[in-house]
Amino acid sequence: MIKTDILIIGAGPTGLFAVFEAGLLKMKCHLIDALPQAGGQCSEIYPKIPIYDIPGFPEILAGDLVDNLMEQIKPFEPGFTLGERAETIDKQEDGSFIVTTSKGTKHHAPVVVIAGGLGSFEPRKPPIPGIQKYEDNGVSYIIRDPEVYRDKKVVIAGGGDSALDWSIFLADVAKEVSLVHRRKDFRGALDSVEKVEELSKIGKINLITDAEVVDLKGEQKLEAVIIRHKDEARGEEEKQIDHFIPLFGLSPKLGPIGNWGLEIEKNAIKVDNAYDYQTNIPGIYAIGDVNTYKGKLKLILCGFHEAAIMCQSAYQRLNPDKKYVMKYTTVSGVNGFDGSKKEAKREVIKSIN
């Protein structure tokens, strides 16, 4: 069981900055994120895109903003559970919470902060009729263990990096690899595109472009896919296979958090914006893009503000008897849990004789 003061769900910019604000108040944080790396959308969707409305930064790449936040919160030694999705929350008798992830990791904290942005990133599923029937029964959206495909016939669909890279990888593992893509153009790294072209020429990858998988066949498990060619003369073909792996990137979904009994409006969590961004469940806060209230703006800078306010309220919750006034970092500096100390240089008084 991982124990912490504040459990933050979502390691995007808002969740990361909350670690800093909590650290100033001597509260320890642990973050859970479904993605394998911190940074949320900034790392996953647009790391190389410049942002122009971070106060004090005329221009900063989203990826650099995440790197800076990680550096800023380092003294507060946050814990991370990455690549796992927060699934369930159980309120304990003492008012604290236990949050369990998709992999069964349990986290115990008196305060839970949802900074989940648009939700957890899940593989995008192609709208092929009846595809659910074959999930984990011939169809997978993620490759967990490539050995599953040894000596099997595999069809991969998609035109991005993961479709290219896995086609290359599985070319040496599977009995037969076909890559089906809607166009002739691929948008992956040039190296990968060239490698696929090369493997296709020597017959190690069966490249099927200008085509789409439109249907699946099989009684108990997947047995064949129907591939429709753009070229009407070629029409449709049925291909006997063992596995179909559609790789069309990730898209965010609110997911299990939607079933936690929180008040949801417009796919977002309603919070008390007159005070502390607490949800309808005391002890659970929601900050950043995941919350909603009158006048809500989904901006990183608003998430930062919400994080700071939330931490004041969380402090009161954790320390009901303590009096506290907010201190400026210019006055108190930053005292890390790792023993590090940052503060303004003091003037030296030295007499000159």
């Binding site: 969707i45 995008r124 709208p127 035109g159 153009d185 609110l254 417009k266 796919n267």
Partner: protein, 112 residues
């Protein structure tokens, strides 16, 4: 008066003719969101960077008046589902006077 009229058919099939300002640096996706013609969180997820395809629309007329597709838009549509020849990412279409009378249909969401 710098508004134009645009007809938007929502995902339930209902047509809405709305005023769209040409002087606010807005795009079609933002018009759809401002009139709440698709639920928040199901459209314009990436914020308009041509990176998610949640704002895919079918262009029903004025195809010759539309701006050309960027490589980014073409690539993203390529990863999207239910793409037709008249599919565009509405976030990539700026509201200009030429688009007065435009008719579009919001593509179905493939998220269950």
């Amino acid at each position: 008066m710098s508004d134009i009229k645009i007809t938007i058919i929502d995902r339930e099939g209902e047509a809405h003719t709305v005023d769209a300002p040409t002087d606010m640096n807005m795009n079609l996706m933002e018009i759809i969101r401002s009139y709440e013609l698709a639920p928040e969180g199901t459209i314009g997820i990436c914020g308009g960077m041509a990176m998610c395809a949640s704002c895919q629309c079918y262009m029903l007329n004025l195809e010759h008046m539309l701006p050309e597709m960027s490589i980014e838009e073409e690539d993203m549509l390529d990863q999207a589902f239910l793409v037709e020849d008249n599919s565009r990412l509405s976030c990539q279409i700026r509201i200009t006077h030429e688009l007065n009378g435009l008719e579009i249909k919001i593509a179905p969401t493939t998220e269950e």
